[in-house]
C-alpha cells in the first residue's frame, strides 16, 4: 500500500482494487496517532465512529460502489469546526465538553463522500496565534523535531539536554492539522486561515497548505475568528491531493450568504511542462524585516527556477504591505470582540458558578473561559468599536484594507499571473525560544507574509520547498487571482515537482509502515 501516495493516483486505486481496505487504513492511522501522541496534534480521537465509517466504506467498495476518491480516506479536522456528536473545543475552556448538534458544511461534505473522520486537531485557543502553543490542551510539537533530518543537524547544547527541550513549534494556528498530515496520521486535514493559519504551519511542517479564495468554500459551522477573512484551509502532502479536497468542498452553500453563487467545477490538475507563457511576480515588499538569509536565498532560487524554465519573472510592488499588520490588528480584534460576545455561559459552553447577578455570571464565565490572548483581543476590539474611535480606527482600517486589496488588483491587471513570496520569515523556532515573546508579538511578526492574502480574499498556497540548515522545512507561497485556483494549483504543482521536497524520516512512521520507506524513491508526489 502507499501511505504516502497521492489520493487520486495511488490510494484511491489501491482501495478500489482491494489492495488495501478502508478499515486497515483507518486502523493504521489510529495506531500511528497513538504512537505519536507526544506530538499532541489531536485533542479528540474519534476511534469508534471512525472505525464504523471505515466499515461502511469497506462495504461500499465491496459492492463496487464507492462514493468517490475520498471514500474511506482518513482525515482530521481542526477543532474549530463543528462536528456533530464529537466534542468541539476550539482549545478553550469555554467550550471544553461542548458537543455540537450539527456538522459544519465542509465536514458534512467530507462525510457524505465517505471520508473517515479520525478526530479533531489541536490549535491555538479560538485560532488566535501563530504557534499552536496557546490552547488549553497544551502546545503541538512539530513532527520534524523528531525527524532524522533535524536530529542530525542539531547540536546538543549540553549533555543533559535531550529531545524534550529541543522540539520546535508547528506554527499556527492550525498546527495540529499540519502535524497530523506531516506525521502521516491522516491523508488530509482541514484547517482554517484568517491571517495565515493554514499556510504558516504548513510551511513549518513541510506540507501543502491551501487558502482558497474567500467565498469559495462555506464557512457554515466554522467557529469564526474574523468573519470577513476566515476561510476553511486544506492541508495535504501534495498539491494534487489539495486539488482533490478542494473539488470536494468548494461551491455555493445557501447556509453561508458569503459564498458565491456560481457553479464550481472540480478539476484535475494538468501536468504543466511549458511555463513560458507564465508571468511570475516577485513583490519587493515581501523582503520583510526579519526575513532569514536562508529563505531569501531560497526565494531567489525559486525565481531563477521559473526564469530558467522560460517564465517571465518580474519584480512588482504592493506598496501598502507595511500597513497590513496594524490594519489587520484593528479589523481582527474588532470582529473578535463581536464574535466572542455570544459566549456568556447561558445557552452552551462553560458557565461560572458565580450567581450574584446575570452580569457577574457573564463576567466570571468569560474570565474563566477565555485565555489572556482572547481577552486581550476582545478588549482591543471593543476599544476600536467605541463610537468615538470608530471612524479613526475601524473605518480607517477598512479603507486601508481596500488599498491593500487594490495593490493586488493592479499587479494582476498588469499581466502578472501568480505572485511568488516566502511563507514565513524563518524555519520553525524551538518552543522554548518561541514562548519568549508574547502571542501578540509573535502573531504580528509571523503573519506579515500571509495576512495580505486574507485582506484581499485571494487564494494562496504554501508549497514545501527545501530543508533549512537546521534540517527543518521551509516553504514558499504562491498567491493567485480570485477564484483562479486551477491556475494557482497548476503552477504550484509544477514547482512541487521541480523541488522534490524530501519525505520526513520519522522513527514512529518507519516502525509502523515499512511500506512508506519502500516507496520513498517514488515519492515524487503524484
Amino acid at each position: 500500500a502507499a501511505l504516502n501516495g497521492g489520493l487520486r493516483s495511488q490510494v484511491s486505486a489501491a482501495l478500489k482494487e482491494g489492495r488495501v481496505a478502508p478499515t486497515e487504513l483507518c486502523q493504521r492511522c489510529l495506531a500511528l496517532i497513538k504512537n505519536t501522541k507526544f506530538l499532541n496534534a489531536y485533542i479528540t480521537v474519534a476511534e469508534e465512529t471512525a472505525l464504523k465509517q471505515a466499515e461502511e466504506s469497506e462495504e461500499r467498495y465491496k459492492r463496487g460502489q464507492p462514493l468517490g476518491i475520498l471514500d474511506g480516506i482518513p482525515i482530521a479536522v481542526k477543532d474549530n469546526f463543528n462536528t456533530a456528536g464529537i466534542e468541539t473545543t476550539c482549545a478553550s475552556n469555554m467550550l471544553k465538553g461542548y458537543i455540537s448538534p450539527y456538522n459544519a458544511t465542509v465536514v458534512q461534505k467530507l462525510l457524505d463522500q465517505g471520508a473517515v473522520l479520525l478526530g479533531k486537531t489541536n490549535l491555538d485557543e479560538f485560532a488566535m496565534g501563530s504557534g499552536s502553543t496557546d490552547g488549553v490542551f497544551g502546545p503541538v510539537r512539530n513532527p520534524w523535531s523528531y525527524s532524522k533530518q533535524y536530529k542530525e543537524k542539531s547540536v546538543p547544547k549540553s549533555h543533559s539536554e535531550d529531545e524534550e527541550s529541543n522540539w520546535v513549534v508547528t506554527g499556527g494556528s492550525s498546527g495540529g492539522s499540519a502535524a497530523a498530515v506531516s506525521s502521516f496520521t491522516c491523508f488530509a486535514a482541514l484547517g482554517s486561515d484568517t491571517g495565515g493559519s493554514t499556510r504558516n504551519p504548513a510551511a513549518h511542517c513541510g506540507v501543502v497548505g491551501l487558502k482558497p479564495t474567500y467565498g469559495l468554500i462555506s464557512r457554515h459551522g466554522l467557529i469564526p475568528l474574523v468573519n470577513s477573512m476566515d476561510v476553511p484551509g486544506i492541508l495535504t502532502r501534495s498539491v494534487d491531493d489539495a486539488a482533490v479536497l478542494l473539488g470536494s468542498l468548494a461551491g455555493h452553500d445557501p447556509k453561508d450568504s458569503t459564498t458565491i453563487q456560481d457553479d464550481f467545477k472540480p478539476f484535475e490538475l494538468p501536468n504543466l511542462t511549458d511555463v513560458s507563457k507564465l508571468s511570475i511576480g516577485i513583490p519587493k515588499e515581501y523582503h520583510a524585516p526579519g526575513l532569514s538569509g536562508e529563505i531569501l536565498a531560497l526565494w531567489s532560487k525559486a525565481a531563477d527556477l521559473f526564469r530558467n524554465a522560460g517564465a517571465k519573472v518580474v519584480e512588482v510592488s504592493l506598496p501598502h504591505t507595511p500597513y497590513s499588520i496594524v490594519c489587520y490588528h484593528v479589523l481582527c480584534t474588532a470582529e473578535v470582540a463581536s464574535n466572542m460576545a455570544r459566549f456568556d455561559g447561558l445557552e452552551y459552553g462553560h458557565r461560572s458558578d458565580m450567581k450574584d447577578s446575570t452580569e457577574s455570571m457573564y463576567a466570571a464565565t468569560r474570565r474563566e473561559g477565555f485565555n489572556d490572548v482572547v481577552r486581550g483581543r476582545i478588549l482591543s476590539g471593543n476599544y476600536f468599536l467605541l463610537k468615538q474611535n470608530y471612524e479613526k480606527y475601524f473605518v480607517k482600517a477598512q479603507k486601508v484594507r481596500r488599498l491593500i486589496a487594490n495593490d493586488f488588483v493592479k499587479v494582476f491587471r498588469s499581466g502578472v499571473d501568480i505572485l511568488l513570496t516566502p511563507t514565513t520569515l524563518s524555519d520553525a523556532a524551538p518552543y522554548t525560544e518561541f514562548i519568549q515573546e508574547d502571542n501578540r508579538t509573535r502573531s504580528a511578526q509571523d503573519d506579515i507574509l500571509t495576512q495580505a492574502a486574507n485582506m484581499a480574499g485571494l487564494p494562496a498556497i504554501n508549497v514545501p520547498a527545501a530543508l533549512s540548515e537546521r534540517g527543518l522545512p521551509v516553504g514558499l507561497q504562491f498567491i493567485g487571482r480570485s477564484f483562479q485556483e486551477k491556475q494557482l494549483l497548476t503552477v504550484a504543482k509544477w514547482f512541487e515537482k521541480q523541488v522534490q521536497f524530501p519525505v520526513i524520516q520519522l522513527e514512529e512512521v518507519k516502525r509502523h509502515d515499512s511500506d512508506v520507506f519502500q516507496h520513498q524513491k517514488s515519492a515524487s508526489f503524484s
Binding site: H220, P224, S257, A337, S338, R342, F394
Partner: protein
C-alpha cells in the same frame, strides 16, 4: 404664562407576519411552549450564520411603499452590541447605517373636539423603516432569584418605523398609530396586534416654548394599547410642563408607563448611556433590490426582489378604501372611518347593501348605530355577530317595503340578536309587528276607534 409646545415622536416596532424568522428557518408563532421554536442560529450556537428571509424583505418593501417612502436599492445590515439574557449572540442584527426605506409620510385623521362630523387630516413624516431582529423574552423570578429565558421570539423579524416628532399630543399619536396599524393589517406585512406584542410603540416626548429650541426629551416605553399610548403621552407632557414651571429640569431618560397609576415612572437604568459599538454585519452582503429598469435580464427570478412588481400588487390602502366607500355609497367621510376602524365592518356593510334595496345612506345608520352598539355592548367582533349581513339585509328589506315600522324593526333586531335562528319575517309574524297595508282594514279599525270614543271625537270636532 408662556404657552408650551409639546413635541411627540414615535418609534414603532412591528413584528413581521412571516412563517419563519428574519435570519433563520425556525417558526414564528405566538404563545408556543417556551424554547420550542429555537434554531441553532437563534440560540447563537457558534459557527451558525444568518440567512436573510425573502418574505421579510418583501414585507418591509410593501410597508415602505405604502408609507410613501423611498426604497433604498442598497441597504446594509449592522450589529448592535449589548449584553442581555434575551440576546443570545450579544448583539442584534439591525440596519443602522442604511435602512431599507426612508423619507415617507403617513396621513391620519382626527375628530376636532370629539365631534365625528369635524375631521381634520394630519401628516406625520416617516424618517425610516429598518429591518431588525426581535429579542427573546426574559422573566425575572425574584422569589427564586432567577431569570427565565424564552428564546421563541429571538430572531423574529421586526420593522422599526420611526415617526418624526411632528405630533403634538396623545390623540395625534394614537390616531397615527391606529392608521399605521390598519395599513399594516391591510398589507398583511404585520398583524399588528398590540396585545400580542406584534406592535410596540415607544414615544419620545418633549416640550418647549414657541420660538425656542426643542426641550430635552424622554422616551416612554411599556405601552400596551393605543388607549394607553394617548394617556401616557398626555401624562408625560403634563409632567414635563409642571416640572419646568416649578423650576426643575427634564432628564434625558427612559420612563415606563404604569397603566394602573396612569403615570410614567423612571425605568431601572439597565442600559445607561450605552455605546452599542455598531459594526457592519460581515456575514450578510449588502441587500440589493431591483426595479423594472435595473433588473438584469438573466437574473433568477427566485433570487431577486423587484420593487415595481411589489408596487403593482399593493392592495388598496385604508385611505383609498375610505374614499371609494364614500364615492360609491354616498356615505359621510367619518362613516368610512368607523367602517374601517372595526375589523370586518366595511365588508359587512357592503354585503348588506348588496342584499337590500335600502339606500346605502340609510343602511349605514343601522350599521353604525344599531349593529355596532350591540357589538360593543357585548364585546363582540363583527365576525362573532349573531346577526349576519343576510339577516340584517332581510330585516331592512321589510322596512324598506314598509312592511314594518322602524320602531318595529328595532324590536326585531333585538330579537335577532338572541341568535335563536329565526328569520326577521318569522319574528314579525310572531310578535304581530306587521304594518297594516290593507286600506279597508285600516278604515275599519279607525272607524272602530272613533265609534268607541264618541265623546272625545265631539270634543275634537268642536275644537
Amino acid at each position: 404664562l408662556a404657552p408650551w409646545v409639546p413635541v411627540v415622536g414615535l418609534e414603532i416596532h412591528a413584528q413581521i407576519s412571516s412563517n419563519s424568522k428574519l435570519f433563520s428557518g425556525s417558526q414564528v408563532q405566538f404563545a408556543a411552549p417556551p424554547n420550542s421554536l429555537v434554531s441553532f442560529f437563534d440560540a447563537s450556537l457558534p459557527g451558525t450564520l444568518p440567512v436573510l428571509n425573502r418574505r421579510c424583505v418583501e414585507a418591509a418593501v410593501m410597508t415602505g411603499l405604502a408609507l410613501n417612502c423611498s426604497i433604498n436599492k442598497k441597504s446594509l445590515f449592522d450589529r448592535k452590541h449589548y449584553f442581555y439574557a434575551d440576546l443570545p449572540a450579544g448583539y442584534q442584527i439591525t440596519q443602522q447605517r442604511v435602512p431599507i426605506a426612508v423619507n415617507g409620510s403617513l396621513s391620519y385623521s382626527l375628530c376636532i373636539d370629539n365631534k365625528m362630523s369635524q375631521m381634520v387630516t394630519k401628516t406625520v413624516r416617516i424618517k425610516q423603516i429598518q429591518l431588525e431582529q426581535d429579542s427573546g423574552k426574559s422573566l425575572h423570578d425574584d422569589t427564586r432569584s432567577q431569570t427565565l429565558v424564552d428564546l421563541n421570539r429571538a430572531g423574529v423579524g421586526l420593522m422599526e418605523v420611526v415617526m418624526e416628532p411632528d405630533m403634538c399630543c396623545g390623540e395625534e399619536a394614537a390616531a397615527a398609530v391606529r392608521e399605521l396599524q390598519l395599513i399594516l393589517q391591510t398589507l398583511g406585512s404585520s398583524q399588528a396586534v398590540m396585545a400580542e406584542g406584534q406592535l410596540r410603540v415607544d414615544a419620545n416626548v418633549s416640550v418647549h416654548h414657541p420660538g425656542e429650541p426643542y426641550g430635552v426629551r424622554t422616551e416612554v416605553k411599556n405601552i400596551n394599547s393605543i388607549r394607553f399610548l394617548a394617556k401616557a403621552i398626555d401624562y408625560e407632557i403634563q409632567r414635563q410642563i409642571e416640572e419646568l414651571e416649578n423650576g426643575g429640569t427634564i432628564l434625558n431618560e427612559t420612563r415606563a408607563f404604569d397603566s394602573k397609576l396612569g403615570c410614567t415612572v423612571p425605568m431601572r437604568d439597565k442600559e445607561g448611556k450605552q455605546d452599542y459599538r455598531f459594526m457592519p454585519e460581515p456575514n450578510l452582503p449588502p441587500l440589493i433590490l431591483y426595479d423594472a429598469k435595473s433588473l438584469p435580464a438573466n437574473m433568477n427570478h427566485q433570487q431577486v426582489i423587484n420593487i415595481d412588481w411589489i408596487h403593482e400588487r399593493l392592495p388598496d390602502l385604508p385611505s383609498v378604501k375610505r374614499k371609494k366607500l364614500v364615492e360609491q355609497y354616498g356615505i359621510l367621510p367619518e362613516h368610512s372611518f368607523t367602517l374601517l376602524n372595526e375589523d370586518g365592518l366595511a365588508e359587512f356593510f357592503e354585503n348588506v347593501v348588496k342584499e337590500t334595496q335600502m339606500k346605502p345612506k340609510k343602511v349605514i345608520g343601522w350599521i353604525l348605530k344599531d349593529l355596532l352598539s350591540y357589538l360593543k355592548q357585548h364585546s363582540l367582533t363583527v365576525n362573532e355577530s349573531p346577526v349576519s349581513s343576510f339577516l340584517l339585509a332581510d330585516l331592512l328589506n321589510l322596512l324598506e317595503k314598509k312592511a314594518i315600522s322602524s320602531t318595529a324593526a328595532k324590536q326585531v333586531l333585538a330579537e335577532l340578536w338572541k341568535g335563536e335562528g329565526k328569520t326577521p319575517l318569522e319574528i314579525v309574524k310572531e310578535q304581530k309587528l306587521e304594518l297594516l297595508q290593507d286600506q279597508k282594514e285600516l278604515e275599519q279599525i279607525c272607524q272602530a276607534v272613533i265609534d268607541g270614543h264618541k265623546n272625545e271625537v265631539i270634543m275634537m270636532v268642536l275644537g
